[in-house]
């Protein structure tokens, strides 16, 4: 953790394929936001989006890092993974489109709802991907 009077920075590693641990980082982020007395509605939207994104990294990538930046105006969370990437982001954003494995579906995910749900919950969302290298997703929540 890095911290000054105006901003805080945290990082969490995410292990691809480790479903038992999926959600650990989102849980830590939820605890942190609660400690900072962030509005409960914003916390819920943040952690739902965060958890969906974390599950995506576990489900699709080899490894990833979550970067959290907080200041008095916003929360920005960047999910940067090393993985196969997304060939067609527009298609991936369509509700119901999914390339998830049967293992992911057995967990109750992989219905093609993750990215659309992240977009609904975030105030801002940016996504970029390079096939064969990985995907970067950034969500921003406005605090004011």
């Amino acid at each position: 953790m890095n911290q000054d009077s105006q901003s805080m920075h945290f990082e969490y590693n995410v292990e691809g394929g480790n479903f038992s641990r999926a959600g650990y980082a989102s849980s830590e982020i939820k605890k942190l936001l609660k400690q900072l007395n962030v509005d409960m509605g914003i916390i819920k939207r943040t952690v739902v989006g965060c958890y969906e994104a974390e599950v995506n990294v576990v489900a699709h990538a080899y490894t990833g890092t979550i970067y959290v930046d907080l200041n008095t105006e916003s929360i920005t969370i960047r999910f940067q993974d090393e993985g196969p990437g997304i060939p067609d982001i527009d298609q991936a954003m369509v509700e119901g489109f999914s390339t998830a494995s049967s293992k992911v579906r057995e967990m109750g995910f992989g219905a093609g709802m993750g990215l659309p749900n992240i977009k609904k919950n975030a105030d801002q969302m940016k996504i970029s991907s390079i096939v064969g290298k990985g995907t970067t997703l950034e969500i921003t929540m406005l605090l004011q």
Partner: protein, 114 residues
């Protein structure tokens, strides 16, 4: 409806959160699709599911769901029970099907979200 009443009604077994039997829920949602659960806007929802894995507990945690019923005689792992306990959640195992569990709760006055 209080957790203690829910447990009696569905002949369930409380695995953790025994101290929260006075906790009350008014609405319930049944799903095996956690992505669906994550789209809910309501708070203090009772979740009924026919799955049993760690992501049930994590999904409930992110969605501010404090009471989860594992129907269809699904058994929780110790890891799930430990995490639910740490999160302050009530976890209940139930032998009935999801349909019967929902039917009993609905009949007793627990409301659907939509």
């Amino acid at each position: 409806m209080k957790v203690s009443e829910i447990q009696q009604l569905i002949d369930g077994r409380i695995l953790c959160g025994e101290e929260l039997t006075d906790y009350s829920v008014e609405v319930a949602f049944a799903s095996d699709l956690m992505s669906d659960v994550l789209t809910l806007k309501s708070d203090h929802v009772l979740l009924i599911t026919g799955l049993s894995n760690m992501q049930i507990i994590r999904t409930a945690e992110m969605s501010d769901i404090h009471c989860v019923i594992l129907a269809r005689n699904k058994k929780a792992s110790q890891e799930m029970i430990d995490l639910a306990r740490e999160n302050g959640q009530v976890l209940i195992e139930c032998q009935y099907s999801v349909f019967k569990t929902c039917g009993l709760l609905f009949q007793a006055g627990v409301k659907p979200i939509f």
